[in-house]
Amino acid sequence: MKVLVTVKRVIDPYVKVRVKPDGSGVETANVKMTMNPFCEIAMEQAVRMKEAGVVTEIVAVSIGAQQCQETLRTAMAMGADRGILVETDVEVQPLAVAKVMKAIAAKESPRLVIMGKQAIDDDSNQSGQMLAALLGWPQAAFISKLEVSGDSAEVTREIDGGLEKLTIRLPAVVTTDLRLNEPRYVTLPNIMKAKKKPLEVVKPDALGVDVTPRLTTLKMQEPAKRGAGVKVADVKELVAKLRNEAKVI
């Protein structure tokens, strides 16, 4: 079966993020970028399923600027068979991602779409759910286990207070949580091979999708600096402070 995996290009988690001086967003120019860690987990899952003989073809999809080709090359070095870049320079919001992916799913007819549960830049955690809704497919978000058998998949979801086990019909959309797997290191021979794998570039227009942002960012600013702490004498004082000053209990 064929799977689609989305891979987003984000600021490297080791980089200290800075807000742009004009407050319009965070500084991304000339900052080290990498594949979103949740997307790496999604890719790893697909590769493991291919190694297990469950999956026959992995198509990696990225949406964004031309530089996302690097992220797709990484995905192909991890094991994707080919890549599709939906190239646009506008800020792509979750609904736009879902619409683009719906159009790609219509073209590619995958049995499964594996996405990261969220991207570490905007932490939206919406695209997977929206895509499932638009496609009318079953969805399982935050999965930590996935086993496909025949026309359905057994998944374990990480939910508040425990784990939820579900059986979903295929085709379906799943989004990955941290515990699903530990992504492998890309090997040097695979980096070399990835250069030769096909990478298709399409524009959102060609897919009939309007990716114009619908939400406007008014202002981006650094969180307020944390003030100095205070030492409390005993539990009684702590409780009093939590109740009267912090008003959290």
Binding site: Y14, A29, T34, R73, Y185, L188, P189, I191, K195
Partner: protein, 594 residues
Amino acid sequence: MSTYSAPLKDMRFAIEELAGLSEVAALPGHGEVNAELVEAVLGEAGKFAQEVLDPLNREGDRQGARLSDGAVTAPKGFKEAYRQFVEAGWNGLGGEPEYGGQGLPHLIATPVQEIWKSANMALCLAPMLTSGVLEALRAHASPEQLKTYAGKLTSGVWTGTMNLTEPQAGSDLSAVRTRAVREGGHYRIQGTKIFITWGEHDLSENIIHLVLARTPDAPEGVKGISLFIVPKFLPKPDGTPGERNDVKCVSIEHKLGIRGSPTCVLAYGDRKGAIGHLVGEENRGLEYMFTMMNHARLAVGVEGVAAGERAYQHALEYARTRVQGREIGQRGGDRVTIIHHPDVRRMLMSMRAQTEAMRALAYFAAATLDKARRHPDPAEKRRNQSLLDLLTPVVKGWCTEQGVEVASTGIQVHGGMGFIEETGATQYLRDARITTIYEGTTGIQANDLVGRKVALEKGATANAMIGAMRALEPTLASAGETYLRDGLKESVDGLEAATHWIVRTHAGDPRAVAGVAVPYLKLFGTVAGGWMMARAALIAHEKRKQPDADRDFLDAKLATARFFAEHELPKALPLAREVTRGADSVLALAPEKF
């Protein structure tokens, strides 16, 4: 504690702009090489180094390797990390495609080496030695020998070692005593070798020793030494490791640094003699060894760069977080991190400027090596070979001496905490300290430079390089870089005068030249480093004009180049004076008067 992060921007700048990636990519056999490949390879290597190798570095130093009953156990985590290293195919980066390698140029392999050595020098000595063994075998071994060993050494499933030194034969290998006696199709080896890095360990399923030894009827001196392959386990006909050979690790050294790597004393032939196979012809071993030694010397020079970079990152992190005192010249106000203090800034700038200059020169040499190997035009090939021959002792000698200095400055940035082992700055200095010694001490490099590389050809290549440096002067002036122009000009004058003195004096008084060879090497490195920084500044000026330029990086490059011109290049003049006027006093006091 700091976490190593590969300096990808500066590496790419040095590769693409200073060393000339496009020229290397145009060489036959390097069609796949381009900036995207460099980015992908360096990016993944940096990630592996940061997440797997660097976290083991400190513990490796603390634990050290352990010897028990002839078997050496690497520090905890090393075996697993090496397995991952091999599985990810990193060992074969520069290896021949014929044996499963990726055949990438030295211009990519060298920066990747820097990444490994910055993250974990002790562990990454093993793959460096393996590639040295491969280099020697590729040039001189028989097709059958290559068939048995090259594939496994390229993948890293087996590792390699270099067995040159004996207690009485260090820098002077003519004193080698290990014996090799022919027995049918092979030889029996007997003797003791010392200082064998990764000579015994549990990382790989087999260890292939390259051993220098004498046959019974060999002539005295360096012309009577042969080279042998002595595997720890004799390969079976199917290529898998078989019977244990008669070679044993009898002790490992207690060392100042690189403690995570075992430095072994190997006893050959305790029982019947270890089985060894001759490489090439008898009595030509030293010549064979030297084919790989020049390559190994560049690789050790890169260790100087790596040590400087790692020490810089560590010191920078501390300077950014340690709060102490207030801004100089201000009354009151908040206490500040020490990076606000001018002297700390000076130290950080000196570490940064020296490291960037070393990196540029080392990568430039790597590109020269690629061109010397593969350039289709014989004249260009020869020109690059001469340049490489000249640069090799400079990169080895100067980058390692500077690496030690930078690592020492790194400790100074930390103040008292720097002297404490737990702070982590000491290891970089202790690890770097070997680099000015092994693969030929700085003194040996300097003698090679003044003798074979400068005097022998009457300074031809050195003067051509000086000419290239001078050619930059007008461009520097028109770019408004007068400090750089003046700094470079003054130091080039000094280098030229010292070079003339070397050429003039060498024929009549080689002892005088040898007495000031090290200052000459340092002079050469300083000026060549300044040349690279001046080129970097000019390129930065040009690139700044592009609309999508990385201004932060380019402005920092300009600031660093100017710092080098004002703080490092002025050191050239006293060095030049030391060369041209200092020889007499070196030998003024006779040995018995000491």
